[in-house]
Symmetry: C2
Subunit: 464 residues, 2 copies
């Protein structure tokens, strides 16, 4: 009781101090706090005590210094599109809203890199680059902020060709738990100079520091882009086509699998009549000659695995038509149960086990009497489950939870990971222990070394 | 004095305990110790007190546990091909010779990955893979061990296409400073599950733990490989060709620059009559049609930048002939001053500054009255200086040291790094501070958290 009062007093004092500097950029309005304590997942909102909107690294440092002095939690906020409760203020504290730190600082066209503030979103960045001939490829679906994508090690549809945030962040500016500011690396494309602090902060979900500037790799916009769609008799033959494609060395830019349940949902939502079968959606980047050759090779490989109705186009309109179904996937899921909740989760396994993992999961979904379309970034062995759960249906929620747990443990047993791209937040902390075992104690040692008072997004990734 | 005696006593006790288990696999012979305390650099040997050759992770763990109990330093040893004194036993202790942990444990052809013990060398691995249609691309020149390449974040000629060890290690087994064993990740190609411990140990040079198993990405052997060579009027035009090639998106597999001093050295060594001009050596991987297209594009781009005498071949013999000069570069350097010492060093800068950095360095070499051929992995902005220094010529050594320092500080001022691929060891610790500033204190915090008694390869990377 005394402890709670002391904590509340510390937070009140910190807020009072911060108000002096930030004035109207500090909000204690409950509706605002509720919004900043909630991401796009089924996890409930855990509102912070206040939301502050800084405009510079120095201001973030000032916030963290004040919070450190009073041992008040700090939770960075990008766009709130996370999926494992990463922005929830589980122990109260200050949400740092980075949305107004949204400047593209420097484009280095010759070096194929760009320096951005963390609140820049990926679409904003690509709009900014529009006339440069360059683009930033990572596409997690949502128009997330670059800071959030970095903190959560985002990836998405074209990671199979361009890698994830892990491969595409060159350097970071980070405000540490005591307010000190570091730069993790220079702009050189590679370096053997010391511990890889960049990669340590990529995926740390705000638990080690606040990212205030990101240097990213860029790519030349390909001369030609083409798309293809192909249906398969079963998941195995689709996945075999993916394996053959990658072994052949076809530099496919996207290769997405939708299962028959997802296709069915799209047919209902978009009034299409796609064949109810596992379907691969592909995209090729290269020269005009190159994308044609790539598509030709994949068409042959698909045919060898039993694929049929291979449709291909390099024409923009036709490409968009072919991929429309894939783009509609998320909306189609939501439409299946408009009043329900969506429990979005993902795992990633070695691709040799992917078909088996999906098949067993599909059987489990049927046995659990649940509806859960599957969409996979199959080139990486990564797939998503979109579990539909009635809003106040405790029994269904329980079945969903059990199914989810079995899916994650199945992925781990196959040499996979509990999350390919959604992160840990506080939703997957137990699975992190199941996956990493003793290595979690190393993560904890690092957390304690860099954030001894546990004020940086506490209650996420590792328990302290 | 008392401290030194105590330390000697602790080492003697540890060795006595370890002898019981390892018998003939523990050596105290001075010639052996000398060899294990020396890498391929100009840094003098710092022999360990004993060399032990373990055969398993459990045996490595047993060695580290014993050393931890007596606070005796532990220095992992792969092939001794490091270049910044990484294997020197600066404070004595036990060298762990990992050369007999040289099994390829599992090849997962469908997943394009392989699990190896750390003593497997890259050539051994590729020989093992010979009939699988797969290969491991990273090529730092020396036939280094995979463990050493991981620990030093190696890269080399084809990093421009395939990335460095940072991008190609999927998971590690590591013996920590107290003997505990962790696995840093699963075999999934991507993961958002917790802190990136894999990347933390990649490049940690044995200062955080001993790597005892490595899971690597593999690639399908390309259907076709072709090579090209082209000369340029100056370094600027060569580098401009590289920039244009990468911006165009040509997935060049290797793109190497040799300066006129290096070409001259090769002409002397190999009795060739190559034009004394900056020269690019290129390699293309892809389909037959693809490599032809790539070479055609680069030839055009080179011509636009003033390149001439573009020679191209997809024929194996002809390819080898074209690249022979590049392969002879290191021998040719040594032959320039057979009795001298070679001081090999590297920096890496954003590619927009590369030509300027090389030009200023060349001028500095001339002004310093030194001979120092330059070879660059220019696609990454990385280049090597091969400083030739008379063995007992203190004045020349001093000039070389000053030149070296100016080159590194020049690279840092251009947004580059003090080492692109050689690592820090104890040769570049001061430069690490110049490069990273406050971030070095974060590296130190991590070091202290994971190795509180500073027994893991002490005196390297960060001062504690």
């Amino acid at each position: 009781m005394a402890e709670a009062a002391q904590k509340a007093g510390a937070i009140a004092t910190a807020i009072a101090e911060l108000k002096e500097h930030f004035g109207g950029r500090l909000s204690e309005v409950m509706a605002v706090r509720e919004r900043f304590g909630k991401d796009e997942s089924f996890h409930p909102s855990a509102p912070p005590d206040a939301v502050i909107t800084p405009h510079s690294t120095e201001e973030v440092s000032a916030i963290v210094r004040t919070c450190a002095r009073h041992q008040v939690p700090v939770i960075p906020y990008g766009t709130g599109t996370a999926l494992e409760g990463q922005v929830a203020a589980l122990q109260g504290g200050i949400s740092i809203n980075l949305q107004e730190m949204n400047q593209v600082v420097e484009v280095h066209a010759e070096d194929l890199d760009v320096v951005v503030q963390p609140g820049v979103t990926r679409k904003q960045l690509n709009n900014h680059l529009h006339n440069s001939g360059l683009f930033f490829p990572i596409d997690p679906g949502a128009d997330a902020s670059i800071g959030g994508m970095t903190a959560c090690r985002a990836s998405g549809t074209n990671a199979v060709r361009y890698g994830t945030m892990r491969e595409n962040v060159l350097a970071l500016t980070v405000v540490l738990a005591d307010g000190r500011v570091i730069r993790t690396a220079r702009r050189a494309r590679k370096s053997a100079a010391g511990y890889d602090l960049t990669r340590l902060f990529v995926g740390s979900e705000g638990t080690l520091g606040v990212i205030t500037e990101v240097t990213l790799r860029l790519y030349g916009i390909p001369e030609a882009i083409s798309s293809a769609v192909c249906t398969f008799p079963d998941v195995d033959s689709a996945v075999n086509t993916v394996i053959a494609t990658i072994q052949y060395g076809v530099p496919v830019a996207r290769i997405e699998l939708l299962d028959e349940v997802q296709i069915d949902a799209i047919n209902r939502y978009s009034k299409t009549d796609l064949a109810l079968a596992p379907t691969l959606f592909l995209e090729f980047h290269g020269t005009e000659q190159g994308v044609e050759e790539q598509a030709g090779i994949v068409q042959e490989l698909a045919a060898e695995s039993g694929g049929s109705d291979f449709q291909w186009s390099a024409n923009t309109e036709e490409r968009n038509r072919l991929w429309q179904a894939r783009h509609d996937a998320a909306y189609a899921c939501k439409a299946l149960q408009p009043d329900g909740q969506i429990w979005a989760t993902d795992v990633c396994v070695p691709i040799s086990r992917l078909a088996e993992c999906i098949r067993e999961t599909q059987r489990d979904i049927r046995d659990s009497n649940l509806v859960a379309p599957i969409v996979g970034h199959v080139g990486d062995g990564n797939f998503h489950l979109c579990l539909l759960v009635g809003k106040d249906d405790a029994a269904e929620h329980q079945r969903a939870q059990e199914l989810h747990e079995r899916m994650v443990m199945r992925a781990l047993a196959m040499g996979g990971t509990c999350t390919g791209e959604h992160g840990v937040g506080y939703g997957k902390m137990d699975f992190l222990v199941a996956e990493h075992g003793e290595a979690v104690s190393v993560m904890r040692s690092i957390k304690q070394a860099l954030d001894p008072d546990n004020i940086m997004n506490p209650g996420k990734i590792v328990r302290v």
